[in-house]
Symmetry: C2
Subunit: 343 residues, 2 copies
Amino acid sequence: MTYAKAGVDINKVQAAHRVLARKLETTFRTRRGKIGHPIFPIGHYAGLINMGHGQVLSLHVDSVGTKVIIAQMMKKYDTIGIDCVAMCANDLICTGSEPIAFLDYLALSKPNPALVDEVAEGIVEGAKQAGMAVVGGEMAIVPDLLSEVGIDLVGMATGVCSKEDLVLGDKVRKGDVVIGVASSGIHSNGLTLARKVLLRNHRLRERIPELGRSIGEELLEPTRIYVKPVIELLRRIEVHGLAHITGGAFTKLGRVLSQANLGAALDNSPPMPGIFRLIKKEGRISEREMHRTFNMGVGFIVICPQDEADRVIRLFKKNSQQAFRLGRAERKPGIRVNGVRVN
Amino acid sequence: MTYAKAGVDINKVQAAHRVLARKLETTFRTRRGKIGHPIFPIGHYAGLINMGHGQVLSLHVDSVGTKVIIAQMMKKYDTIGIDCVAMCANDLICTGSEPIAFLDYLALSKPNPALVDEVAEGIVEGAKQAGMAVVGGEMAIVPDLLSEVGIDLVGMATGVCSKEDLVLGDKVRKGDVVIGVASSGIHSNGLTLARKVLLRNHRLRERIPELGRSIGEELLEPTRIYVKPVIELLRRIEVHGLAHITGGAFTKLGRVLSQANLGAALDNSPPMPGIFRLIKKEGRISEREMHRTFNMGVGFIVICPQDEADRVIRLFKKNSQQAFRLGRAERKPGIRVNGVRVN
């Protein structure tokens, strides 16, 4: 099984993204010499625009994807809002920005105040964890656009950064340490493949001994929000690169390292969490495909000089988050996990 | 026929919005004393946050709604991007803000580079008209979330304003003139009702003499973008209130006038454009329901002191946009069109 066969071809999606980006960037000239001029091409973790006074605004949009299907099947909508905030806020901080404001787009088949209330609960919880104010949103009742799942949830986030404090990956040096921070489970990516594989042989509410709970509960576990430790990190320790492991999984690290024309060898993967072992086994999915689709227990990556690595790991530990050395930045291009190139 | 019967009950939607807003506003305290603190409750045309240096950021998210269904039926996707930008940018300017940056969320059933290219063409055209840089976006391939229409298109916009230049409606005075600016057609609201009414008796490609073209062509006409004349207006003329006539149509004016505890009597409606005459007749829809659902030829409203009205109208004319006196702000609450209260 591959993610492409489940309907999502990462290569095709990324190629289409590049074509789209070049076209959209022709609009940059409309802001030339004005407030709001972009300072970086499309394709990093956030759009970056110059606000004057040395201030840069970072803007990002992301969706929960098909995790809403698990919510609908489990009739439990009070945590997908956390995922929605996490998908945006964890991306924003990869530019060194502090997330400040959030908006949501909630598409529904029909007005459903109880469901909206549940979704809002998660958004509020996520926003508090990320230190963001939710300043608006759009609820669209669009019965004809949605499948019988009846819901889509998207977030838009704004962050701010001093221009000189941006972290874009260009400062990564050969030999820098790649540190992984533990994920809380599958987060919000690869759900389409996970569903196709796991629901072939199991019911969603079936308790799986290796997981210690049902598949549905495991897949619904909210995405960890890394904002607080990362903001603390940015204030106190020299950081060269940051990567949120989301769509495309470890291929995302390539986006950061390419700024410095470097690659990375990740040879110390953490033990594979139960949910990924289960998906890998039941879907007979290759190691490479797993690392191109799932976070494999690593939700966030920090790249720092060798002599800062221990301090970085301790800082996450102090914030009750487990961090570990994954590998090193190398001259050789590409991201290699246990010797296999994944991007 | 009413919009509620077509699946969208404006009263229910607005009530749900209010409950949601109060809940989301509990997150405002996370930014207390920090950059990015909200300066206005949720519910105006944009979320407003304080960026320091006297600068306010305005943030808004909006979707094209079911206009994508017309695009799909007509196999023509190159203008819905203009609608997407218009829905966001026309809302942002209602706070006195200058739109600066745009992101899109495009949900698709399957990767389709040709379709994406067409959509991007409209987004680029809209962004250029609105003077915004498109700094990113998300393309989600979510086959299981979408109906057979296979597409949803959402925009997120950022604007900027000096704090003292915000236009929120609180400065509107009794006797101020309500000026309407011509729409380019149905824009991006009421499409669900329009489709249900018109496609009962007609095919989409049927040429309608009163419209001078087919129903599909008429419904796909891109939403007019009012940014350029309105920004010029804000720089040169005293403006007390601004309203984009979108979802909920003329009830939206209530949002602005309520800031000054005033209402409005609109007794000089422009001649009803052909598309609205057709929908009204074939759907046997009341005048009141029409004004709660459709722009009725008025896409944007400016409220200004009596002695500025002629200058406002001339400024739009200079920008090739037709503007006309619709009525007056009054002590009596509510929005009345030809004596009928619509909100």
